[in-house]
Structures are given as structure tokens and as C-alpha cells.
């Protein structure tokens, strides 16, 4: 397996794991308050929609010329990757708060408890729609990442397998813990995924534009190293700036 195939697998797995942890929190919050039948049907319906998207878009992209595909996919991965990386840098440097799964779970549970009961098609409509929307919206980004990664590298099956493995792992962990997975280091994973997406975006975007990378696939590792080092420096600088701006005498 080549370096880029390993990175594709890792990227799809990690991106899917982070998004599924967030989806799990939503489904758990609704399920423990309003019962499991309707939210689980919502999860099933959203999974079918997401799988249909992968099945429809994946093969369709196979007919697009590889240069054009890599240019478009590179641009998309850069857009997603920069969002993840930016968020992770701001969280790691303390400028925005870390995501707290336990807090999100409690908020979701409180909302589920206060929402009115309405039955449609034999389902608790609130529980169904919240679970459906939660899984669909969190899963949509994963679908785009899987399709982009898989199609540009010609390894759609590998990327889909990575994402599916993450779904199985997160679901199994959720069933075992019976609560939100607040110990998953989401910011660290987001950092790694952001770096991977941005690096692949640079590599494929430039290649699609006609660039001939020196060292071919080895350049991908160089880009990854460059962006990783830059992100590390940015976190350090921002932390220092935040501490310098804090009023004297304030505790950490």
C-alpha cells in the first residue's frame, strides 16, 4: 500500500470518527429521553441517504478526466481542510472553547425533554427528525471527504472502508459506554484531519492545475510537514499573544 493510500485510509477513518462522535451525542441525547425506536429509525434513514449519495456520486466521478477531478477535489479538500485546521488552531491556542461532548449531551437531553410530543407515521416526529438531521448533516461532510479522497486517488473502496470502520468503532464505543464519548480527543483529531485534508488539497489541486511535483508523492509528506510545522508555530504564537493580553494577576 502506498503512502498516499495509507493517508487516505487514515484521513477517512479520522474524519468519520470525529463527525460520528458528534452525531452519537445527538442521537443519545434524544434516545435516552424519548425512547430508542424513532431516533434509530431516523439514524437508519439518514444512513441510507448517505450511502445512496456515495453509491451515486462515486461511480459518476469516474467518468470525469483525472486532471479536472483532482483540480476540483483539491479545491474542495482545501476548503474543508482549512476550516478544520483553522478551528483546531483557534481551539488549541485557547481563542475558542473546546467542544464538550458531555455539555452537548446535556443540552440535547434538555431540549428533547421540553419538546412537544407529535406523532407522524407512527413515529415520535421530534426524535426521528433530530436523529435524522444530526446524522445526515454530520455525515454529509464525511461523504464529501470519502468521495473526494477515494475518487482522486482511485481508491473509493478504501476510503469508504476507512469511514465505515470508524462508524462501527464509534457505535460500538457508544453502546459500551452508554453515554457521550467525551474522552475522545476531538481537537487533536480535527487537527490531524485538517492537516491531511489541506495537504491532499494542495497536492491534488496543484497537480490538477498542471503542476509536476518534485519527488512525486514524496512532496505530499513535505507539504504535510510544512503545514504541520506552520500550525504548531501559529498555536504557540497565538497562545503567547493571549497570555500577554490577559490582565496581570489573572490565573491560567
Amino acid at each position: 500500500m502506498s503512502t498516499s493510500s495509507v493517508l487516505v485510509l487514515l484521513g477517512a477513518f479520522s474524519a468519520s470518527a470525529v463527525e460520528m462522535v458528534e452525531a452519537l451525542t445527538i442521537v443519545l441525547g434524544v434516545g435516552v429521553v424519548r425512547g430508542w425506536r424513532s431516533p434509530l429509525i431516523g439514524v437508519g434513514a439518514a444512513t441510507i441517504v448517505l450511502a445512496a449519495l456515495v453509491a451515486a456520486l462515486g461511480p459518476a466521478l469516474g467518468s470525469v478526466p483525472i486532471g479536472t477531478l483532482r483540480f476540483v477535489v483539491g479545491a474542495l479538500l482545501l476548503a474543508f481542510g482549512m476550516q478544520w485546521l483553522r478551528k483546531a488552531i483557534l481551539r488549541s491556542s485557547g481563542y475558542t472553547s473546546m467542544r464538550d461532548e458531555d455539555e452537548a449531551f446535556r443540552r440535547e437531553r434538555a431540549e428533547a425533554a421540553s419538546a412537544p410530543s407529535e406523532r407522524k407515521a407512527g413515529l415520535d416526529w421530534y426524535a426521528f427528525t433530530v436523529a435524522f438531521k444530526g446524522v445526515l448533516l454530520e455525515g454529509l461532510e464525511v461523504v464529501f471527504i470519502v468521495i473526494s479522497f477515494g475518487s482522486a486517488q482511485g481508491r473509493l473502496g478504501l476510503a469508504a472502508a476507512g469511514a465505515a470502520a470508524a462508524v462501527v468503532h464509534v457505535t460500538a464505543a457508544g453502546v459500551l459506554v452508554r453515554g457521550p464519548l467525551e474522552r475522545v480527543p476531538e481537537t487533536a483529531i480535527k487537527f490531524a484531519v485538517g492537516l491531511l485534508l489541506t495537504s491532499f488539497g494542495c497536492f491534488w489541486g496543484a497537480e490538477g492545475a498542471g503542476v509536476d511535483w518534485p519527488g512525486d508523492e514524496l512532496s505530499l509528506l513535505a507539504v504535510l510537514g510544512f503545514l504541520g510545522a506552520l500550525s504548531f508555530v501559529l498555536v504557540r504564537l497565538l497562545r503567547r499573544q493571549r497570555l500577554a493580553l490577559r490582565p496581570s494577576g489573572a490565573e491560567a
Partner: protein
């Protein structure tokens, strides 16, 4: 109309995110790379440099 607006806003937020300047900078860098490589310059260095500059600018603005 309300649904169309919500649909457009969803995709804008999904692809562009919190800082439109990042998306604009990336589009410009990709366009420049295309132009340079099609005029005989193998501009492999441009995109990583542009990404680094755009990222640093964006987090710096957010932290101000």
C-alpha cells in the same frame, strides 16, 4: 423562496465556512497556479505558500 435561501446558506456555510477570505484566497491561488503552469512555470511552491499565508492571516484576524 425561504427554502431556496436556506439551501444556499447551507452550502455557503458548508463550503466557505466562517471566513470568506480563506475561500477567496484559495481560489485566487489555484487560479494563479493554473495560469503559471500553463505558461511554462512549474509553480509547485505557490499553493503551499498561499495556504500558509491565508491560514496565518485568518487565525490572526480571528484572534484580534
Amino acid at each position: 423562496m425561504r427554502y431556496l435561501r436556506a439551501f444556499a446558506l447551507f452550502w455557503w456555510d458548508f463550503i466557505v465556512g466562517d471566513d470568506w477570505r480563506v475561500a477567496a484566497g484559495l481560489a485566487l491561488a489555484l487560479g494563479l497556479t493554473y495560469l503559471l503552469t500553463h505558461n511554462g512555470v512549474n509553480a509547485w511552491w505557490l499553493l503551499p505558500l498561499a495556504v500558509g499565508t491565508v491560514l496565518a492571516g485568518s487565525v490572526w484576524r480571528a484572534a484580534r
